[in-house]
């Protein structure tokens, strides 16, 4: 088992740092249904951490706990060395946790550029009054934020649709715009809820490349949920495996792949 207590070095030689977030004994119930049962794991700086599991395993619920959309009945979330109090989703977002959604939640009526700019809200400090007279700090701030956003847009290769209303874009591009908006926030943790769902092979390859490039270029800590096993194993540094709300495996892709409980629950009978 990989020893991760002091950070570690990945197979491709990237240095992974200390713990950014730690989930401690999280239990989440909806009425009588237990969606997550006593799960603990950590997320380390700079790594790509995947959460996998069959349908209904509680992966999305876990992501919603991290991003503050759900509040667990038991357990603690530790973020940057401090226990996080119960927070509203927008407060969590302002702490630097950005996310995408399984079924895309973009501002359909706004242009790509405006959508990505909303990601900068955390960085924009100028008050209403300063903005209304549009001088000094507010102007400088808008320019700086705009520059950063343009950088992200270039990076994700969506320059050609900057001024297009998002509602008109095809599915694959929407997913990319959503990623851009999340990245614009310069997040400490980036949460991706099934970033490859519903994509064709080519789009999947593009998206995988972007997730890796983002991690490489900005050192973004990424947590992703994914169905496609091949994608997960290629992308991630460490994997949490869930089944029926419980954690049945946690480790490097290789470790997980050879874990008997995981094989039984998720991969089915192996064909060795």
């Amino acid at each position: 088992m990989l020893d991760t207590t002091e950070g570690y070095t990945t197979e491709d030689g990237r240095k992974i740092g200390g713990v950014v977030m730690e989930m401690k004994n999280i239990t989440l119930r909806f009425g009588g249904v237990v969606a997550i049962k006593d799960i603990s794991f950590d997320i380390r700086e700079g790594e790509i951490r995947a959460i996998i599991g069959p349908n209904g395993a509680g992966k999305s619920s876990m992501l919603n706990v991290i991003s503050g959309f759900y509040h667990p009945q038991e357990g603690e979330v530790w973020y940057k060395g401090e226990k996080r109090p119960v927070m509203k989703p927008y407060q969590v977002a302002r702490q630097g946790i950005a996310r995408t959604f399984q079924n895309i939640a973009l501002f359909e009526g706004m242009t790509v550029l405006d959508n990505v700019m909303t990601g900068r809200i955390r960085q924009m400090k100028a008050g209403l009054f300063a903005q209304s007279i549009w001088k000094g700090k507010a102007e400088q701030e808008e320019t700086e934020n705009r520059e950063f956003v343009e950088k992200i847009i270039d990076f994700l290769e969506i320059q050609h649709i900057r001024k297009t209303p998002v509602g008109r874009l095809p599915y694959g591009l929407k997913k990319r715009v959503e990623l851009a908006r999340a990245l614009a926030a310069e997040p400490s943790i980036l949460l991706l809820d099934e970033p490859m769902a519903g994509m064709n092979v080519e789009e999947k390859e593009d998206m995988s490349r972007f997730v890796l490039d983002v991690n490489d270029e900005f050192g973004t800590t990424t947590v992703l949920i994914e169905h496609d096993m091949g994608v997960v194993m290629d992308l991630s540094d460490r994997v949490v495996v869930m089944d029926y709300g419980q954690k049945i495996g946690d480790g490097t892709p290789d470790e997980v792949r050879n874990n008997q409980a995981v094989i039984d629950a998720y991969l089915g009978v192996s064909h060795d």
């Binding site: 407060q91 973009l106 501002f107 706004m110 809200i121 999340a182």
Partner: protein, 329 residues
């Protein structure tokens, strides 16, 4: 030039000005509807309430005087001072912001994710509550409102048109001021929505609540802001209408005039509210002038706007500028 045509032009101009006032009321509806999907039935009462408060502050009327006098056996009605208009307007704006905050904390915060019909019902309840509250607070007598806006016939236009057509147009100065104020207000709102951080956040909330939360926008803050803006627009409308015809209960009924404007312009479009208001204003005046008076015995303004809106609904259900809803099958 034939007389009828000259009269028609005057009617047209007056229709435009009346339309601006309708648009002002409709604007308040659009703001709230855009950001929270709530059709705010109380918008008309908000205009009345704002105008009443403004008069009350300017005239130094003691709020809840009847209640206080009954309980304590006193007989006070006036503080005995007159506040300058600008100060009173400023205080009223602050009060409308406070009102926006209370409405959101007490009512709408608890109704997040409810059906639109529930939210609509809540605003009906709010409207009737405020109706009673306003009367208890400021009495029901008709109050004159004078914040120093110019009123009466515009002599210059009268003069100029007399030179050209040999017939002086009657254009009210107040209508001209209302038009300028409304234009400035709309321009400011559009710039605000397009280019400020809060405006962008407002559009984001209007578009998708979940996505807005995920980028760190507080829905509550935006809603309070939008209700405050709507309160401000209500105050402006209240000042214009109140100056024109006195501050009285019927002021709240102007909200009903805003309905056809909204159907025409679309519930989600700020420019739509303006264009819709102008079309209704001009349409009903011209119809009355050309058909209503000569053939139908007059007073067609009461229903013409609704008929026009109904015809529009049949051909363009989303209004002139509303977002078209496309359902994917």
């Amino acid at each position: 030039m034939p007389d009828q045509l000259v009269f028609g032009m005057e009617v047209f101009l007056n229709g435009l000005m009346a339309g601006v006032l309708y648009a002002l009321v409709a604007l308040g509806f659009v703001l709230i509807y855009k950001a929270s999907g709530i059709f705010n039935y109380a918008q008309g009462i908000m205009a009345l309430f704002a105008a009443m408060t403004l008069v009350g502050l300017m005239e130094g009327i003691v709020p809840f005087a009847h209640l206080i006098n009954t309980i304590f056996g006193t007989n006070i009605h006036h503080f005995g001072w007159h506040a300058p208009a600008l100060l009173a307007i400023l205080l009223t704006v602050l009060m409308m912001i406070g009102f926006a905050w209370i409405v959101n904390v007490v009512i709408f915060k608890h109704l997040v994710n409810q059906e639109p019909i529930i939210l609509f019902m809540a605003t009906i309840g709010l409207a009737y509550f405020m109706d009673g509250f306003a009367l208890i607070m400021w009495f029901s007598d008709i109050k004159a409102l004078d914040v120093g806006l110019p009123q009466g016939i515009n002599a210059a236009i009268d003069e100029a048109t007399f030179q050209i057509f040999n017939y002086g147009f009657f254009i009210d100065n107040l209508d001209i001021v209302a038009t300028i104020v409304a234009a400035a207000l709309v321009f400011t709102l559009i710039v605000f929505a397009q280019y400020s951080k809060q405006g962008r956040a407002m559009r984001a909330v209007a578009d998708d609540h979940q996505a807005a939360l995920s980028v760190g926008i507080s829905l509550n803050f935006i809603w309070v802001m939008v209700w405050s803006l709507a309160g401000f627009v209500a105050l402006v409308a209240g000042i214009m209408w109140g100056t024109k015809s006195g501050v009285q209960f019927s002021l709240s009924l102007i909200a009903l005039k805003a309905l056809p404007v909204l159907m025409l312009g679309g519930f989600t479009s700020i420019p739509g509210a303006i264009i819709g208001g102008l079309i209704i204003g001009v349409g009903e005046q011209l119809f009355e002038f050309a058909i209503g008076q000569p053939f139908l015995g007059g007073a067609t303004q009461n229903w013409f706007a609704y008929v026009l809106a109904l015809i529009f609904l049949v051909f363009r259900p989303q209004g002139l500028f509303g977002e078209k809803i496309i359902e994917r099958v």
